[in-house]
Amino acid sequence: MGEPLLARLIADGPPSLWEWFARNWDTGRAGSVKDLLGDHLVMSLVPIVAGLVLALPLGLASARWRWLYQPTAGVFNVVYALPSLPVFMLLISVTGLSKTTVIIPLTFYAIAVLLPAVVDGLGSVPDHVRQSAVAMGFTPLRRLVQVELPIAVPVVLAGLRVVAVSSISLVSVGALIGQGGLGMLFTRAYQNPFLPPVIVGIVLIVALALVADGLLVLAQRLLTPWVRARRAS
């Protein structure tokens, strides 16, 4: 990478960028941009979904038994604080150079963000609302499903938006162990200083993150029309 990046970009220009993308999108061989995009989607979506599925029961238990909350949140925060590279190295001995090695730490990160979101979401249910649900004869399970969880949705979704964007971005780190999805386009640039793959990688990752975020905003609008009603009033 002798020349300054910007100078190279200007020299290569957008047409060569597009050309490169068109040529490498679907080569029919492993490592095509299409394949990398697919890998990227799997490695970012699985942690988002798994994180939510695991954070829900953990959050419910933490809201129910408050003493459980601090230790549980503490464990996940410590995991969150660990640099991802050594975590990958550690996991390689168990799960090898597979997607699972990337998915596991990202799931832990997701839980670290979503656990407090679930607990805070349940905490956002006003006391008089909970009381009146009890007084009207809701069983505890029905109260949770029909009253408390729906009211917690806006707070949980706000956490989920952070998780979605950060997962999609963090997957690229997996390139260091050969499992980085679109991140692979960055490591290739080390060996062969050629800019178009780097730009394509960045653009696709950012686009993925924006689409995921947009879908979540849409979900929020559909699931919680009452939040908009409150703002409008």
């Binding site: 009381q131 007084a135 009207m136 004869g137 809701f138 029905r142 009452w226």
Partner: protein, 352 residues
């Protein structure tokens, strides 16, 4: 009928919230629990639907101990209204009202049409059913709370300071609305408040509780005002107990004068110091001096037979003549209660 049979609530730390409470809340009547904070009135209320369980004693619902009934099942048969209404923010008004019918397994269409009917019943536009709670005022939310409590037509209604978070004008209209509804529905209502005026206005029977959860007096409002059991009750009733007692003195016996009214165009010539100008359609316009000088002065009205002596006296105090204008249901003047007549009636009330 709800029966408290030597009910005590003692918490783990030894605090006694309710102490050996025995009383009955008769079917079809409003029983009010009133007292200062810490008197156990809300705790007593919540023991009826088992949101709190009694430590000792029994509470019977038409003879059946509530302790023997599964709480969710028990609660679905008891309407409950709380201070901030407790509406579900994520549900439309109509679905809020339909909550208990749906819990009872009614089909959706039937529950919704019942909800619409109830919105109308509590004085709300059914079109409001499609809104969310945050789009309603405090008073409207509280009406929805009442509608929701009535949705499955429970025989018993528990109301925990339902009107204390709204402004005084709205509170008065909600209280009137409750009395109107109760005249139609005849529910067994237990109503908790810290406001003695509200207790006297709404209660068929008023239970005054003192701090520590002991019953100080259980009586109808009139007896409470005229014969408070002890100094605590007397103090709690406040200073204008005598005036408030007039609320229970009728006005049907008042002799009304009909010779004090004049047409609106009156220009003087009456021997009386004050005469009442009346419009062509029989409505009061204002008090005029007998010599015809000056502008019409303010007046106050009451409905003889319907309103109490307190209203009549209030009407008299509002006008310079010291007389109260008696009007019919249509707002037309039927006569005037003079100072002398009111004075005689007050003297009689004081004796009785």
């Amino acid at each position: 009928m709800i029966t408290f049979d030597a009910v005590t609530k003692r918490y783990a730390d030894g605090t006694v919230a309710v102490d050996n409470l025995s009383l009955e809340a008769p079917t079809g009547e409003i029983t009010v629990f009133v007292g200062p904070s810490g008197c156990g009135k809300t705790t007593s209320l919540r023991m009826i639907n088992r949101m709190i369980d009694a430590t000792e004693g029994r509470i019977l619902l038409d003879g059946d101990p509530v302790q023997d009934i599964d709480p969710p099942k028990l609660r679905r048969g008891i309407g409950y209204v709380i201070q901030q209404a407790g509406l579900f923010p994520h549900k439309k008004i109509v679905d809020n009202v339909a909550t208990v019918p749906l819990l009872l397994g009614w089909d959706r269409g039937k529950a919704r049409s019942r909800a619409m009917e109830l919105l109308e019943r509590v004085g709300l536009d059914p079109a409001m059913g499609e809104r969310y709670p945050f789009q309603l005022s405090g008073g409207q939310q509280q009406r929805v709370g009442v509608a929701r409590a009535l949705a499955a037509d429970p025989p018993v209604l528990l109301m925990d300071e339902p009107f204390s978070a709204v402004d005084p004008i709205v509170r008065t209209s909600l209280q009137d609305e409750l009395l109107r509804l109760q005249a139609e529905l005849n529910k067994t209502i237990v109503f908790v408040t810290h406001d003695i005026d509200e207790a006297i206005k709404l209660g068929d029977r008023v239970a005054v509780l003192r701090v520590g959860g002991r019953l100080a007096q259980l009586a109808d409002p009139k007896t409470l005002l005229s014969e408070p059991a002890d100094d605590f009750v007397r103090e709690f009733l406040g200073h204008d107990r005598g005036i408030r007692r007039l609320q229970f003195v009728g006005t049907d016996g008042l002799r009304l004068r009909t010779d004090l009214t004049v047409p609106a165009g009156f220009s003087g010539g009456s021997p009386e110091p004050w005469v009442l100008a009346v419009s062509d359609d029989g409505r009061p316009v204002g008090w005029l001096r007998g010599d015809g000088g000056g502008e019409p002065e303010p007046y106050g009205t009451f409905r003889p037979g319907r309103d109490s002596m307190r209203s009549a006296l209030d009407a008299a105090l509002l006008s310079p003549s010291g007389c109260a204008v008696a009007v019919g249901e249509d707002g037309k003047v039927v006569g005037v209660a003079t100072r002398e007549v009111l004075d005689a009636a007050l003297a009689e009330a004081a004796d009785g």
